[in-house]
């Protein structure tokens, strides 16, 4: 390839991004961009019709993802991406609906929506970027902050028990649950691709470094250091019991695909149940995808 051509070649991810909004706001060394790259790659591999994929985010650093991805995209209020996604999915069931948000959004302020969307088995994929703190607002303690980690509102270290998100997801009814670190690029991509091909409530947690706040406050080095650190501290255990996945401060991270099962979705259940009870009077609702 001539030098000239190489310079003119566009990175393939440009097709998935709103290039008129780049550069993005994320800090150098942040893991969110890596997860977005995996998402774009997974979308491409999934061969889904991109007109039929919608993405929603809440508030926070990861909450900005919806603004950069060139799909039908809604940047909602804090914690409410999931109920907005529920309405969107039910109004137009042919959509593949993805919620891409942070740990504060999904497990903190939106925790109630999370467990109920999982309970209903809403056909929604959640990609949750977990950086162990509220980063956009300056590094406050979160529902995921490990015990002893320092945060701006836990200046003497956190003493509250954190959520183990895969455990919460499975206990609430999710049909696909996985956890990776941001450096597991191929594995994250594969998980997203698998989940995009499934129907039901899928949950993928990606542990990422927050360089500017969590790492600096806890003196954990720069983004690359922490990215590598998480990667090296992780141990792949597919099918691990989700009750054993607690994360301790700078401790071992169990990663892998923990749950992958089939269960009728909210709309499947609605159509089947009401069809059975009401017979011919019932007006079946929604368009159906064939499960892969």
């Amino acid at each position: 390839m001539k030098e000239e051509d190489r310079l003119q070649e566009r990175p393939p991810i440009e097709d998935f991004l709103r290039m008129d909004r780049i550069p993005h706001i994320w800090c150098p060394g942040c893991g969110i961009g890596t997860v977005v790259t995996s998402f774009a790659e997974a979308l491409k591999k999934s061969e889904l019709d991109l007109d039929k994929v919608a993405i929603l985010s809440g508030i926070g650093c990861t909450g900005r993802v919806a603004g950069y991805v060139k799909l039908d995209s809604i940047h909602t209020t804090h914690g409410r991406a999931l109920p907005v996604a529920t309405g969107l999915k039910l109004a137009n069931p042919e959509l593949k609906v993805v919620v891409f948000s942070g740990d504060g959004d999904i497990a903190g302020i939106g925790g109630n929506h999370f467990i109920h969307a999982a309970r209903r088995n809403m056909d929604i994929l959640i990609i949750c970027v977990n950086n162990f703190n509220y980063a956009m607002t300056g590094g406050q303690v979160a529902a995921t902050t490990p015990i002893d980690a320092n945060a701006s509102t836990a200046p003497y270290g956190n003493f509250e028990y954190p959520f183990s998100l895969p455990y919460l997801a499975e206990a609430s009814g999710a049909t696909y649950v996985a956890r990776w670190t941001a450096l597991h690029l191929r594995r994250v991509t594969k998980s997203i691709q698998e989940a995009l091909g499934k129907r039901g409530f899928s949950f993928i947690e990606v542990i990422t470094p927050c360089v500017t706040l969590y790492a600096r406050r806890n003196r954990l080095g720069d983004g690359l250091n922490l990215l590598k650190y998480y990667y090296e501290k992780s141990e792949i255990q597919h099918g691990a019991d989700t009750r054993t996945l607690d994360i301790s401060y700078q401790g071992k991270l169990i990663v892998g695909k923990f749950v992958d099962k089939e269960k009728p979705t909210f709309l499947d259940c609605m159509n089947e149940h009401l069809g059975k009870v009401l017979g011919d009077k019932y007006q079946p609702y929604g368009v159906y995808h064939d499960g892969d």
């Binding site: 039908d72 995209s73 409410r80 109920p83 529920t86 109004a91």
Partner: protein, 388 residues
């Protein structure tokens, strides 16, 4: 604005004996609402029950959400998924909805919220009536925005105004509120539902131009932007952040100015077309009673008694409470002795009347703090005192 006839599937044509809550559900179904998300709360729950019973044989979705935060959020999703959507609630649930009422205004999303008001503050009087959310409906969410609020005074009007609410929400891409109360919500009366072909509906202002040219917030000539639905290939972006016509966030004072002025002016400049009220015997009136909802029915009796006593009293019944009929109040203020404003709260709409009257005539509240309707004699006494 494109008008269409109602789809007969949702229209229960005939003469019925319904309460206001049921009539709201029937109004929504007649208006083609196919999505209802709600959370049970007295005294509004019957609307959700009726909708959940009726929708499976019409075609659509009823979902009981985990709370009111989720209910209103789901409506926003459903509206951008292409459906007409509604929820119903009362005081405490209404408070929870304020966050995403702001988002709905910011995203210029058509949806309908009915509030069957009860006594407050807080848990207040779950089973007893109130009109205490009349200011909250206009001011409850943070920031500057405009909404439309209607106030039915009977089950028949609950039906009629719910259809009207959907039409207005589509016309102006704005949340519209049906502000009724426990009394009207639980009152059983005759409700006549016309044949579908006599029900006129406003169709969503769908965009039809080239896909790459779609701008979700670019005002059309009538100030209202075109809408699309997710899944049609427009790859739109919308955000609760201050945004430009593309829907992209722009965090500066200049964009904020354009964005906020648009959200407000698209309603303020059309107020004359939106506002509806009934006016009676104000030509030579010394006193004008301004009321709305159930209180206007109590007012009728007080006014009859006052006229029998030879007092010159006129009435204005607000059908649209927001936007407020400011011009008419200003005109009347110049030639009458006083406005009397009975309402089941400790003084809300009366403050707006006072503002519009601007010192030309006093606005006298007749306050009832909730739990029951006024004694007509209390209104009568206020009229009599003001007329002298």
């Amino acid at each position: 604005m494109k008008k269409v006839k109602a789809d007969p599937k949702g229209v229960l044509t005939g003469s019925h004996y319904l309460d206001g809550d049921y009539a709201i559900a029937e109004g929504a179904l007649a208006a083609g609402c196919q999505f209802f998300a709600g959370y049970p709360i007295t005294p509004s729950t019957e609307t959700a029950e009726r909708f959940s019973e009726r929708i499976p044989t019409i075609g659509g979705v009823f979902i009981q959400m985990e709370d009111e935060l989720a209910s209103i959020a789901a409506l926003i999703g459903a509206a951008w998924g292409g459906k007409k959507a509604m929820t119903v609630t009362s005081g405490p649930g209404f408070s929870l909805m304020m966050e995403n009422i702001g988002l709905a205004c910011m995203l210029e999303t058509p949806l309908v919220i009915a509030n069957v008001q009860r006594g407050g503050p807080s848990t207040g009087l779950p089973t007893l009536t109130g009109q205490q959310d009349m200011m909250q409906v206009k001011w409850g969410s943070h920031g500057d925005y405009e909404i439309i609020a209607l106030s039915p005074d009977s089950p028949q009007e609950c039906f009629d105004l719910t259809i009207e609410a959907f039409n207005l929400s589509e016309m102006y891409r704005v949340p519209v509120f049906v502000m009724t109360d426990e009394c009207v919500g639980h009152m059983h009366e005759k409700v006549v539902i016309p044949p579908a072909e006599e029900i006129e509906l406003v169709e969503r202002k769908w965009y039809t131009g080239p896909k790459s040219k779609y701008l979700p917030f670019k005002p059309d000539k009538d100030m209202i932007p075109f809408m699309v639905k997710a899944g049609d290939g427009y790859h739109f972006h919308i955000t609760g952040l201050t945004h430009d016509e593309r829907g992209y966030p722009v965090i500066n004072a200049e964009c904020q100015d354009v964005c906020v002025r648009h959200l407000n002016d698209k309603i303020r400049t059309k107020a004359d077309e939106i506002i509806r009220f009934e006016e009676d015997k104000t030509d030579d009136a010394d006193v004008v009673v301004i009321s709305y909802g159930i209180t206007s029915r109590v007012t009728t009796r007080a006014v009859r008694k006052a006229r029998e006593a030879g007092l010159k009293v006129g009435t204005i019944r607000l059908i649209t409470v927001w936007p407020f009929p400011e011009k008419r109040i200003k005109e009347l203020a110049k030639k009458i002795k006083a406005f009397i404003v009975p309402e089941i709260n400790y003084g809300q709409v009366v403050i707006e009347v006072e503002r519009c009257a601007a010192g030309q005539a006093p606005a006298i509240p007749v306050s009832h703090c909730g739990g029951w309707v006024h004694d007509p004699d209390d209104i009568f006494k206020a009229i009599k005192e003001a007329a002298q």
